[in-house]
């Protein structure tokens, strides 16, 4: 029926025929869009580099006047410096807040109408949701080499081998992905710019302090220890800390974080498929 006389000789762009409409192409397109948008923003790049230095410089120096032997007693570990203890915990807590970016990006797409443009194509809400979560996780992961590099510059010694380090990065990636999924599920139906910030504060603060990321949970009151025992941030931090301090790993901790990520992605996908608003 289509005349398209001026387009004679131009190869037709055909959709791949399918009944189930696979989502691979849409997934790749939306994920690459997320990554491009993030890393084309100069402020994101500057903050990604500067923030780890600030964390380590300010927070890492908070016990600099305390003798090492007293720190060992306080932190229940044989450490070279508080920075060495802090590094895995800081990386874990940095993964807590990254879901906020995916959530803000989703709300931006809703408010500017781009979500409609996406969803008037054969793209499922679950695909949109997962690409946002993965995009945010990628953004969070970029901070890891920067922070590790900063720690090395501050004189921190990191034990372990490439296999253990790969496991450590995997634990952080899974933790970040899990929290991104949780974050996006909570804000799936929101179109308010303020929501991600409020939810971030609500989630980040208690989970950061009620974990073994910054201080050992053995020092906590009993009720906080219960929270820390369930908190996946604790396990990602402990997994990394064992590697950094002694070059050993409790792989069960990685398993726990993977379980958390799996549960979050399953719940989040269901929630987003049902409640992700178009505008």
């Amino acid at each position: 029926m289509s005349a398209e006389t001026r387009f004679a000789g131009v190869p037709a762009a055909r959709s791949v025929p399918s009944h189930a409409i696979p989502q691979g192409s849409q997934f790749a397109g939306l994920y690459i869009r997320e990554v491009l948008k993030t890393f084309r923003n100069p402020f994101v790049l500057v903050i990604t580099v500067v923030q780890p230095f600030m964390w380590l410089a300010f927070f890492g120096s908070s016990f600099s006047q305390v003798p090492l032997s007293e720190l060992d007693l306080l932190l229940h570990a044989q450490i070279q410096s508080y920075l060495q203890f802090l590094l895995p915990g800081t990386l874990s807590t940095s993964m807590l807040a990254i879901g906020m970016f995916g959530s803000m990006s989703t709300i931006q797409d809703k408010r500017f109408g781009f979500m409609k443009r996406i969803l008037i194509t054969p793209t499922s809400k679950a695909t949109v949701y997962l690409t946002k979560a993965l995009g945010s996780t990628t953004r969070g992961l970029v901070g890891i080499p920067v922070m590790v590099g900063a720690a090395l510059l501050f004189g921190v010694h990191i034990n372990g081998d490439p296999l253990l380090w790969a496991g450590w990065i995997a634990s952080l990636a899974l933790l970040g992905f899990g929290f991104c999924c949780l974050f996006l599920a909570i804000t799936a139906s929101s179109t308010d710019w303020q929501t991600p910030g409020v939810i971030s504060n609500f989630i980040t603060m208690p989970l950061m302090f009620a974990s073994g990321a910054l201080f050992p949970s053995a020092n906590f009151p009993t009720w906080m220890q219960y929270i820390a025992d369930f908190n996946p941030v604790s396990y990602a931090a402990l997994f990394g800390r064992d590697i950094v301090l002694s070059g050993t790993a409790h792989w069960i901790y990685l398993g726990y974080v993977a379980l958390f990520a799996g549960a979050m992605v399953a719940i989040g996908t269901l929630v987003a498929s049902r409640y992700l608003k178009v505008e």
Binding site: S2, E4, T5, V10, G29, K37, I120, T121, P122
Partner: protein, 327 residues
């Protein structure tokens, strides 16, 4: 004969207690430009949302491009294009990257040659690498239409495509829409509240008011239905409706704000009688309208298109006066 591009039966959409679309039966012949003409809030955009699967259907049936919208929305989406009222593009990406993303979302192979051809057709080839945020409004509209055409859809939905544009850009877009329809042979469902736009572009028009279709036909058929001239007037002194009705040739009288709308067999014959009748009362304003889509709308709804937005315009005037007063 090709099947209809869009068919609906009893299509209804509720938002809570609000009935946005009320039992709409529609048949859009393949290859035609079908216009939905109605004021803001009449339900035009809602119809597009439910037909594209963006919003669930509350009641009724709809098929687009041969696919059932309820049961097979993904295949509907594979076969439709969309041009939004507000231009919706990713401003952080270039024109080419927007096309690339559309190709990924529509799962296209060998899309680059077609994208190149579309950019040439819309005279955007030179700016393809520039971020869309730097494009003029006209260029953005053109790119949006190119996106809608990239995957060779069977139906394109154009939701108020020229709203907010200056007259010259609007006319340029009219030419483009006519060209796209002729060149690509695609069925177009176009919504508008600009009467002259619907008249200029559409083969068939449905007038929609409060979610219901109140008249459907070609522009010529609709105008022929009125079979009357309208006289729109406002008098200085209050006039009894019975005085208008007593004038030979006046078939209907309606109050319209502070004035009156008279439906007459022939304005040329009735006007001298009317002026003679109202000589003593004084006429503040009088306007004669020959059959047009405007008079059709007035005839079937009892209101002028955009009349309900008068209060908003008054607020704008009010705020403009406030700003001037502050200076």
């Amino acid at each position: 004969m090709a099947p209809d591009a869009i068919v609906t039966q009893g299509l209804t959409k509720h938002y809570g207690k609000l009935v946005a679309v009320d039992h709409v039966d529609m048949r859009v012949p393949s290859g035609s430009v079908f216009g939905l003409l109605g004021p803001n809030g009449a339900g035009k955009t809602t119809i597009i949302k439910v037909l594209t699967g963006l919003s669930d259907i509350t009641e009724g049936e709809a098929a687009v491009a041969g696919y059932d919208v309820r049961r097979d929305p993904m295949h509907v989406k594979q076969n439709v294009g969309w041009v939004a009222a507000e231009v919706i593009l990713d401003d952080d990406l270039s024109g080419w990257e927007n096309l690339w993303l559309q190709a990924k979302l529509q799962r296209l192979d060998n899309w680059k040659d077609r994208a190149e051809a579309l950019l040439r057709y819309f005279s955007l080839g030179d700016r393809r690498k520039d971020k869309v945020g730097t494009y003029s409004t006209g260029m953005r509209k053109k790119l949006e239409i190119a996106l809608a055409l990239l995957h060779q859809p069977q139906v394109i939905f154009m939701d108020e495509p020229t709203i907010g544009l200056d007259p010259s850009t609007r006319h340029m877009l009219w030419e483009l829409i006519r060209g796209v329809h002729t060149e690509f042979g695609i069925s177009v469902l176009l919504t508008s509240h600009y009467i002259e736009e619907a008249d200029a572009l559409c083969d068939l028009i449905s007038i929609i008011d409060h979610g219901r279709f109140v008249a459907t036909g070609s522009p010529t058929e609709l105008k022929a239905k009125v079979k009357a001239d309208l006289i729109d007037l406002e008098t200085v002194e209050a006039v009894d409706e019975a005085r208008f009705r007593a004038i030979p040739g006046v078939s209907d009288v309606r109050a319209q704000g502070k004035g009156w709308i008279l439906r007459v067999s022939s304005a040329e014959e009735v006007l001298p009688r009317l002026l003679a009748t109202l000589r003593a009362d004084g006429i503040r304003r009088i306007n004669v309208e020959k059959p047009s889509l405007e008079t059709v709308f007035l005839d079937v709804t009892g209101r002028r298109i955009g009349q309900d937005e008068g209060e908003v315009l008054d607020y704008r005037k009010f705020y403009a006066q406030m700003r001037r007063a502050r200076r």
